[in-house]
């Protein structure tokens, strides 16, 4: 099998503070491999066989190599960085187009593509589905579990719906859950990773025009961003008499 994992380097959002004007203070905040991408990598590493190929690819500035390197330490055996000044400012459309161009040109014989469900900095969760659409393959977002035997079965969790699907080869999966306890590579893993070249590909190498990538190739412009609010109606049970309250609660829940 040949697995391709699309990864992103993001600022460590657990360390970002907000100033008095509500702006994110990014200065001095270290970058990390996006945690959801790491979940995707972990999922692939769990199912891969020794002879399988695990290709990791990221679009980003040169420093994104650090996150790609972590993927190599954790088990990937081939790595690409898509880096070009022209890629700057890409929205999900331009990003997906760039990633799609890479897959068509450098990994066309892949079996499955894995992504994190969303990047911790942008949170759009659109690149996996959009890349699948551009490749004209099926997408299985919010995957939590995968079993490979004669067929490939994946469990998707949409919060209000859980689906178990058979996945055809060539599909794109996004992974939404993993072990929060990050894996730690051994020194041997690190040395092995040092011996793998991270190949850098620019716009020309991918065969893309100036107006297909980056801000020029983008279809959207962000005017403002905010976290969605989920409001659930609740019911208050009077707890003056705890045993009566417990009975009411059981009645409500069951």
């Amino acid at each position: 099998m040949k697995y391709v994992i699309l990864v992103k380097q993001v600022p460590d959002t657990t360390r970002i503070k907000v100033d008095e004007n509500g702006n994110l203070i990014r200065q001095g905040v270290p970058s990390i491999l996006d945690p959801y991408c790491e979940y995707a990598l972990d999922m692939v590493c769990r199912i891969r066989k020794p002879e399988d190929s695990v290709i990791v690819v990221s679009m980003g500035p040169p420093q994104a190599k650090e996150s790609i390197f972590r993927c190599l330490e954790l088990g990937a055996n081939e790595a690409y960085l898509l880096s070009d000044k022209a890629f700057a400012g890409a929205d999900v459309f331009a990003t997906s187009r760039t990633l799609t161009a890479f897959i068509r040109k450098f990994a066309a014989d892949y079996d499955l593509i894995f992504c994190g469900k969303q990047a911790a900095d942008g949170d759009t969760a659109e690149v996996p589905a959009e890349t699948a659409a551009m490749l004209n393959v099926q997408q299985f977002c919010y995957s939590e579990n995968i079993i490979i035997s004669d067929t490939i079965k994946v469990t998707q969790n949409y919060n209000d719906e859980i689906r178990v699907c058979t996945v055809p080869k060539g599909s794109v999966l996004s992974v939404s859950i993993g072990d929060i306890n990050r894996r730690v590579p051994s020194i041997s893993d690190h040395i092995k990773a040092l011996n793998i070249e991270i190949k850098t590909l620019d716009r020309i190498a991918l065969g893309l025009g100036m107006y297909s990538v980056g801000i020029k190739g983008s279809k959207t412009k962000i005017e403002s961003s905010y976290s969605p609010r989920y409001e659930h109606s609740g019911k208050i049970i009077d707890g003056t008499d705890p045993s009566e309250a417990a009975k009411l609660l059981i009645k409500e829940v069951l």
């Binding site: 460590d12 203070i25 200065q27 001095g28 905040v29 270290p30 990390i32 650090e66 972590r70 929060i180 306890n181 990050r182 894996r183 730690v184 590579p185 051994s186 020194i187 041997s188 893993d189 690190h190 040395i191 040092l194």
Partner: protein, 513 residues
């Protein structure tokens, strides 16, 4: 403005991480130096003892009052500015800024609200291509700079960078008569073990104790001495005996990318023997830390039971001991690892049986792993306080020259096993400085542990070491001053104390009774 209030008997200000309990009437929290002077002058005139406190992270009861009042410097938590001299950049900071906050400001380059202490220092440091950091890592990063200076704190990185003392450029200190002493390293030196300190238009004569201070090992037992020593070094490590530090200049140094590593070994002996060769290799580690089987089991247990530790990596089942070290993540890293691999193989280790991390996130996890041993012990001892109020932590802090570490380890085993005490060993093996934490279960254990500690302290002295390598003496270990320096040494320290604090108001019970 001076904030003050009467202290209740269960106030957190009456204890520190040693879990020793104290007693005091009033708590004073000054806003600025003028307030500190007022508090000191009034206490000096009424001869009321005044114990200095800040973050209360010490483990020897240094900030735990025996009587009188407490002055807490907790509001002195601002970083003032940046300067540069021949030795490099320094940060001017108030005394209660924590080591963690200091490093955070430097790492994030949050200099916009700081002052230029020397011309254009901020512009200059911002234009540098390298990053900077404060290299002393006292393990407890929530400790204050003032507390670190008072105890000459060290920690794992002392292996490469030395203790706090080596990084202090200047201190500002309030003496018992309310005079403010501003001491810049290099300005006042002793002559034939006597200082003549200019204060308020006259000179105070201060005698340096006659004993020789052991500088061959990590050592915080008693005052530093030397025939022509710098005045600043008399105050560094004096544990609040002579005055209140309000401000300090702390040097910082160039940061370089680091790789944190943990190699697991089958047994404690394997790891000890590995270290003996490691220190003589071409690898230049920042520190070398050791965890014995008991420590690893303690971490395994904490991880299972305490949600705080859930993000810590699982310790592999095959691990019987571990060596933790940082090395520079540079172009020579593979050759360093190759050399390490050769040594590790001899002692049953392997680079396959290891962890490494270069991202800050992983390196912090390794340090959390390191810190979880003492943290678990602190919490365990605190949990015993309810049923045994007199209980406090009993951990050794003894250093010996590395050549004698084997003999010291044998002594730990002989003495503690003969007293049927349970213990774990971890810590700064690269400096010949292991911490032995005794897991106390009863007051009887505490009394046995105190006797064992005394025997072990004597043993460390016999082997050319120090009974207190980095935690200081505080109120828990004052008897070891006499063990190391004899009765004359104790009298000498008292004389120095009387010369600088004639009414003996500052921190009574610290270092000497």
């Amino acid at each position: 403005m001076i904030h003050s209030r009467k202290l209740e008997s269960d106030s957190p200000y009456l204890t520190d991480e040693s879990k020793l309990s104290g007693a005091a009437d009033m708590l004073f929290i000054p806003d600025d130096e003028e307030d500190v002077v007022k508090i000191v002058v009034s206490h000096n005139s009424s001869k009321t003892p005044l114990t200095i406190s800040a973050m209360r992270t010490g483990v020897c009861g240094g900030c735990v009052p025996k009587e009188g009042d407490i002055v807490s410097m907790e509001k002195f938590n601002k970083i003032i500015g940046i300067g540069k001299d021949d030795k490099g950049y320094f940060i001017r900071t108030q005394a209660a800024v924590t080591v963690k906050d200091l490093n955070e400001i430097i790492r994030k380059k949050l200099y916009s609200e700081l002052q230029n202490i020397t011309d254009d220092a901020i512009e200059c440091i911002l234009s540098e291509r390298t990053d900077y950091f404060y290299p002393v890592d006292p393990t407890e990063l929530n400790g204050s700079i003032g507390g670190n200076i008072s105890t000459n704190a060290s920690g794992p990185r002392t292996y490469k960078y030395g203790p706090t003392r080596d990084w202090v450029r200047r201190i500002r200190i309030i003496l018992s008569d309310g005079n403010v002493l501003d001491i810049l390293r290099g300005e006042i030196k002793a002559k034939n073990r006597v200082f003549s300190i200019p204060v308020d238009g006259k000179n105070i004569t201060v005698h340096i104790p006659s004993y020789e201070f052991n500088r061959d090992v990590k050592n915080t037992t008693g005052l530093m001495t030397g025939p022509d020593m710098d005045l600043i070094d008399l105050f560094i490590g004096s544990e609040g005996m002579f005055g209140i530090i309000t401000e300090a200049d702390i040097y910082i140094t160039e940061w370089h990318p680091l790789m944190s590593n943990i190699i697991f070994f089958p047994s404690d002996d394997n790891a000890y023997n590995f270290v003996k060769e490691f220190v003589n290799s071409h690898i230049d580690p920042e520190f070398i830390e050791f965890f014995d089987t008991g420590s690893l089991n303690l971490i395994r247990k904490s991880k299972k039971n305490d949600p705080k530790f859930t993000k810590m990596p699982d310790i592999p089942d095959y691990a019987g001991s571990a060596i933790f070290f940082d090395i520079s993540n540079d172009e020579n890293i593979v050759s360093k690892y190759n050399e390490l691999s050769q040594i590790a193989k001899i002692y049953g280790g392997s680079l396959d049986h290891s962890w490494c991390g270069h991202e800050l996130k992983d390196r912090e996890r390794f340090f959390a792993f390191r810190h979880s041993v003492p943290q678990t012990i602190f919490e365990y001892v605190a949990s015993l306080k309810g049923s045994m109020p007199g209980m406090h932590k009993m951990g050794t802090d003894m250093s010996v020259p590395l050549d004698h570490l084997d003999e010291m380890i044998d002594s730990y085993s002989e003495v503690l096993t003969s007293k049927k005490l349970e213990y774990v060993i971890f810590g700064h093996i690269g400096n010949g400085h292991l911490h032995v934490e005794i897991i106390l279960k009863s007051m009887d254990d505490l009394s046995k542990a105190k006797k064992a500690y005394r025997t072990l302290a004597l043993r460390s002295i016999e082997l050319g070491g120090s009974p207190s390598a980095e935690h200081g003496i505080g109120k828990i270990k004052s008897e070891y001053i006499e063990l190391l320096y004899g009765k004359q040494g104790v009298e000498d320290i008292k004389k120095t104390k009387r010369e600088l604090d004639p009414n003996w108001i500052f921190c009574p019970g610290n270092v000497v009774e």
